[in-house]
């Protein structure tokens, strides 16, 4: 049982990390609250953001699961490793890419779409690949349905943690902290993230 627990903890931790990153959504929720001058706007922004993030993660996780089902495990690892390293290099080289055409006045659908693009451009789902690959999925499940089930569960636990952390941070900032602390404490998480992508890609490559 303990053996099977660590991947779930990893999904949750990654979720917490995305939840705390201002660029992934909580700051947008706070901005909408401040613009409309109601906490309600903060809270109602969180679900669409989480939904968009979830969609991006599910897409990535499904891609891994399907690939794992059809190609030999060794090749999957190699592919995943190269994609991770490639993404790490890309995000380092062009650190300020972001979706165009968004604005402050998007509706719930626009917010979800923004979050989907933001998570995808960030490679949020990709990071789950090495963890998924560390789970003995192919050995345990022989049919696609159970693969999909695992994928959804992985994405689900990720996004629930993310949502919980986002909710906590955004309400705290909106009600108590204010935005002044951003100036001092908005560490360059993107740089750390690029590093993490490179590292996990390399580890996956070495253990492939």
């Amino acid at each position: 049982m303990t053996q099977a627990l660590w991947p779930w903890a990893a999904f949750a931790l990654l979720g917490a990390y995305h939840g705390i990153n201002p660029g992934m959504g909580w700051l947008f929720a706070v901005a909408r609250g401040l613009q409309q001058q109601t906490r309600r706007a903060v809270l109602t922004s969180l679900l669409p953001i989480a939904a968009g993030h979830e969609a991006s993660i599910v897409a990535a996780v499904l891609a891994v699961a399907f690939t794992e089902h059809v190609v030999p495990p060794h090749t999957v690892r190699l592919l995943a490793a190269l994609t991770l390293v490639g993404f790490g290099v890309y995000t380092l080289a062009r650190p300020r890419r972001h979706p165009r055409g968004s604005g402050m006045r998007v509706g719930a659908a626009g917010l979800a779409w923004w979050s989907f693009l933001m998570a995808s451009a960030h490679g949020a789902g990709l990071m789950l690949a090495p963890v998924l690959l560390g789970m003995p999925v192919a050995d345990q499940y022989s049919d696609l349905r159970s693969l999909t089930g695992t994928a959804f569960a992985a994405a689900g636990i990720h996004v629930v943690t993310m949502l919980a952390v986002m909710a906590l941070v955004s309400v705290l900032v909106y009600e108590k902290l204010g935005l002044g602390f951003l100036r001092r404490s908005w560490f360059n998480l993107d740089l750390a993230w690029s590093g993490a992508l490179l590292l996990s890609g390399t580890v996956t490559l070495v253990t492939a």
Partner: protein, 461 residues
């Protein structure tokens, strides 16, 4: 370009936090050679009262070409980098983008490592702007959340339409024309935005062919210069509404939207009215989804004997105020209005934007008045470009408008100066008689180190 580990310390989430920023110690000012023979320059002025070189020009960076006519300029990045939908807080506020209004070149000038001695690191050539965006005569620069926005007076041939194009804020490559659908808009000049309302506002002067040889009396009397505002959907890049101030309101120039992103109003200055040569300030505002505009300040022309007037004004027997620049303090409380013709800067309390209340005024120069500053002797030119410090306590003024127009209204020539005014919390306005700097070349826009009241925009109140 370097990536920082923490946000650039000059970025502030809100105008309220920005107004608590430390006082500026340096100012950057562009100057141009009216004869077009010497290169124009970016001058660094020491604004630190504790420094030995306070009020002195401590560095002059000559441009690599002649005849640019440097005019307005702006930063590569500013507080809008903290906007939640396109956050990139770890970019540096570092490069000044300085367009030549006549040459259509844009210089990229690096203010680091030595902020006192910046260097030209790149030149964007007019051909690149023309081929990739179809525009020329770049004017206003604003650092946007997702790129650097630049307005242009005309197309590559010097005709209409003028418009806006976007530069990549990492590579400074011209990304292309901004407008997807320009609707009825033809003339261009200034632009700015209400980030909280996804709305861009643009104003109208004239095409390069209409302005470069001086103000054209025929066009003016026919009401042919710009008299409209345009409202745009910022993310969708589409024209939404034209607001006509009336054909007699000629030349609708500087736009100063409220800095607070939750407020949907702003101020624009009109140079002159054909009805009585008065100048005015108007407020645009959103009401039930539609945008409206109304006049809130009118400054009358001042009668003067014809023999004291330049040719262009002799038939009218009056000096028009010619409001050519305005500026709004970061707290949206105070509006400064330059009357370049009469030589006056006025300060208004605009805490109720629909009922401005004049609280202070200083006379400097003027076509007839030539008002002096303590012992300066007669001053030429008049208050023109006005910049306000982030804390709202200091106001900087220069006195040249635009080469060919300078000659028409100040035919005896303009000796250029930079002046500082002190803005009291009680609404007073006083010229600092110890701060008077004269320049060989003509002075134009000033920007302050770290940001000022016209350099940054904010996504949070």
């Amino acid at each position: 370009m370097a990536t920082l580990l923490k946000p650039d310390p000059t970025f502030y989430p809100s105008p309220r936090l920005a107004s608590e920023a430390p006082a500026e110690t340096l100012g950057y000012m562009v100057t141009f050679d009216p004869t077009g023979k010497q290169p124009d320059a970016l001058v660094t002025v020491d604004l630190d009262p504790k420094s030995k070189t306070f009020t002195k020009a401590v560095h002059t960076l000559a441009m690599p070409n002649v005849g640019d006519e440097l005019h307005h300029f702006g930063w590569n990045a500013c507080s809008s980098a903290l906007c939640p939908y396109a956050p990139h807080p770890h970019i540096e506020r570092r490069y000044l983008l300085v367009p030549g209004l006549r040459s259509s070149r844009i210089y990229v000038i690096d203010t680091k490592p030595d902020p006192r001695a910046p260097k030209v690191v790149k030149t964007i050539e007019p051909e690149e702007i023309a081929s990739r965006a179809g525009y020329s005569r770049p004017h206003t620069i604003h650092c946007g959340p997702d790129g650097i926005y630049v307005s242009a007076l005309g197309n590559a041939d010097g005709d209409a339409p003028g418009g806006i194009f976007v530069l990549d804020h990492d590579t400074f490559a011209v990304k292309g024309r901004w407008e997807l659908d320009r609707g009825p808009q033809r003339l261009a000049y200034d632009f700015w935005w209400h980030l909280g309302y996804d709305t861009l506002i643009s104003s109208e002067w004239g095409t390069p062919k209409m302005v470069e040889d001086g103000v054209n009396g025929e066009i003016l009397l026919a009401g042919g210069y710009g008299h409209q505002l345009h409202i745009w959907d910022l993310p969708r890049r589409r024209h939404r509404q034209a607001l006509d101030l009336g054909k007699e309101q000629q030349m609708v120039l500087e736009l100063r939207p409220a800095h607070d992103p939750t407020k949907a109003y702003g101020f624009v200055g009109v140079v002159t009215s054909l009805a009585d040569l008065s100048a005015s300030v108007w407020v645009w505002h959103q009401e039930g989804g539609a945008w409206k505009v109304e006049k809130v300040i009118e400054i009358p022309a001042e009668p003067a004997p014809a023999e004291q007037l330049p040719e262009i004004l002799k038939p009218f027997g009056a000096v028009p105020p010619l409001v050519t620049d305005i500026n709004l303090s970061l707290d949206d409380h105070w509006l400064y209005v330059s009357a370049w013709g009469t030589g006056e800067i006025k300060r208004y309390d605009v805490s109720d934007p629909f009922k401005p209340r004049e609280t202070g005024s200083v006379r400097l120069g003027g076509i007839v008045g030539r008002a002096a500053l303590n012992g300066s002797g007669d001053l030429s030119g008049g208050p023109q470009m006005v910049e306000v410090s982030r804390d709202g306590k200091r106001v900087y003024l220069t006195n040249s408008l635009y080469r060919s127009w300078d000659e028409q209204f100040y035919p005896d020539g303009i000796k250029s100066w930079l002046v500082k005014l002190d803005a009291g919390e009680d609404g007073s306005l006083k010229a600092d008689s110890d701060f008077f700097v004269e320049f060989e070349q003509r002075t134009h826009q000033v920007h302050l180190e770290g940001g000022d009241a016209s350099s940054d925009s904010y996504c949070y109140p």
